[in-house]
Symmetry: C2
Subunit: 256 residues, 2 copies
């Protein structure tokens, strides 16, 4: 792959750069959008790790921000990272003002109260629900929590290029769900030193996951099917989409 994904950790920025490359755009035309979505994703991790949220002390192999500094710093750092994401999308290298407003609007919708934040709120609500979530409910939760931002990332290259984003949207929808299923499999079978974060938290909390609902083999099969579906949506791009196909395969093969 041309850019290091770094485990699953830089997937969003990678998708921005790779989908831009699909339309012949050099990295400098898309790098601010890639940086923006990584800032947005990083803010969500810093806030999700807070004691009042998921209460995690380890992230990417490092102490989380509130452990290393303090909670007020983690709240403010997350807030400023979100702001920086939108500032980065104003970079003229991304294209016309119309293009940049489309990116701003898309990122806001993907990450706000009907996207990522909704997914996180549903996830927190699930912890105190009387019954574990069903497969439909958990699929909807994850479509918001991780899916919306992955979709924005994969569409960004087409938006910057002024091209039709529909095939990439379909690719990213399947990829996002495969990514989350792979995360649940890693949470069950992975190694904390490799992943750089605490594992088995959902299972220990009695929360439904794709693994608890489908079984380990069922979850693996579903992830494989989704990757095949994701690949099929890239057919219009022929060989130029090879890196995006590799990325989809990597998402379910990764160990971190």
């Amino acid at each position: 792959m041309r850019y290091a994904v770094g485990g699953g950790k830089r997937l969003r920025g990678f998708l921005v750069l790779e989908t831009a490359a699909l339309f012949g755009l050099p990295p400098e035309r898309a790098i601010s959008a890639a940086a923006a979505v990584e800032c947005l994703h990083a803010y969500s991790l810093v806030h999700d790790d807070l004691p009042c949220m998921d209460d995690d002390d380890l992230r990417r192999g490092q102490p989380t921000v509130h452990v290393k500094w303090d909670e007020a710093t983690a709240v403010l750092a997350g807030d400023a990272l979100q702001t920086l994401a939108f500032e980065l999308l104003c970079d003229p290298d991304l294209g016309s003002a119309e293009t940049r407003i489309a990116l701003v609007r898309g990122l806001a919708v993907a990450s706000g109260a009907e996207g990522m934040v909704l997914g996180q709120a549903l996830d927190i609500a699930a912890e105190s629900a009387s019954a574990p979530l069903t497969l439909d409910q958990i699929t909807r939760l994850q479509a918001g929590k991780t899916g919306a931002l992955i979709r924005w990332s994969a569409e960004a290259g087409a938006v910057i290029a002024g091209a039709d984003a529909a095939p990439l949207r379909a690719y990213a929808t399947a990829l996002g769900l495969a990514f989350q299923i792979a995360d649940d499999i890693l949470d069950e079978t992975g190694d904390e030193a490799q992943t750089g974060k605490r594992l088995h938290k959902d299972a220990d909390a009695g929360k439904a996951t794709f693994v608890s609902l489908l079984g380990l083999e069922g979850a693996r099969q579903r992830a494989c099917d989704l990757v095949a579906e994701a690949e099929s949506h890239l057919a219009p791009y022929g060989d130029t989409a090879k890196t995006l196909i590799d990325a989809a395969r990597f998402v379910i093969a990764r160990d971190s």
Copy 2:
């Protein structure tokens, strides 16, 4: 005044609508920008009120979000309010895509790590500083914490109208500082039932304020001088600026 400021509580949205009116724009041309800055300001209050930040239980006469619901909800509600602010600035009623990108960029700079969040971080650092802040330090802190957003609000009308924002920028810089001095005076002399928030917190914590540094009378005089300065910057607009002059006078006369 044409729009209710509601104590000092809706000052930012009011400034957007009134500066737009200065250039003959009807409220519907500016309302999304007014709503955006109110969302941005509300997010900052919800996060600032958290136990790990200012730990306030009363705001606008109501229990704060983490008291009424819980801390996770307050973090997420603040996050989503910030996102909504940027989504609102994509509204085509605000003007061309160039205009809207200018508003997005300006709001991001005003509210991010070199604006409002910096001011809040300096404020928190001041709590554990070995010596109280000097007048220069506290002026710089407030220029970020409250000044940057007030300035963006007053410039917004000119940006939407495609007019020179320099006089309004100068007006807002003086107004923002007067507003903060008036806040410090209210914190010393105000009534909790009227203001709808806890008072005397800074003095009780031994933190420097404009009142502790200038004395009550000195602070009042400084605020009056700043309001006169703010008014002088509106001279180019003649009588059409009457409401903005009234607003500046109200800022130091308010009791909430």
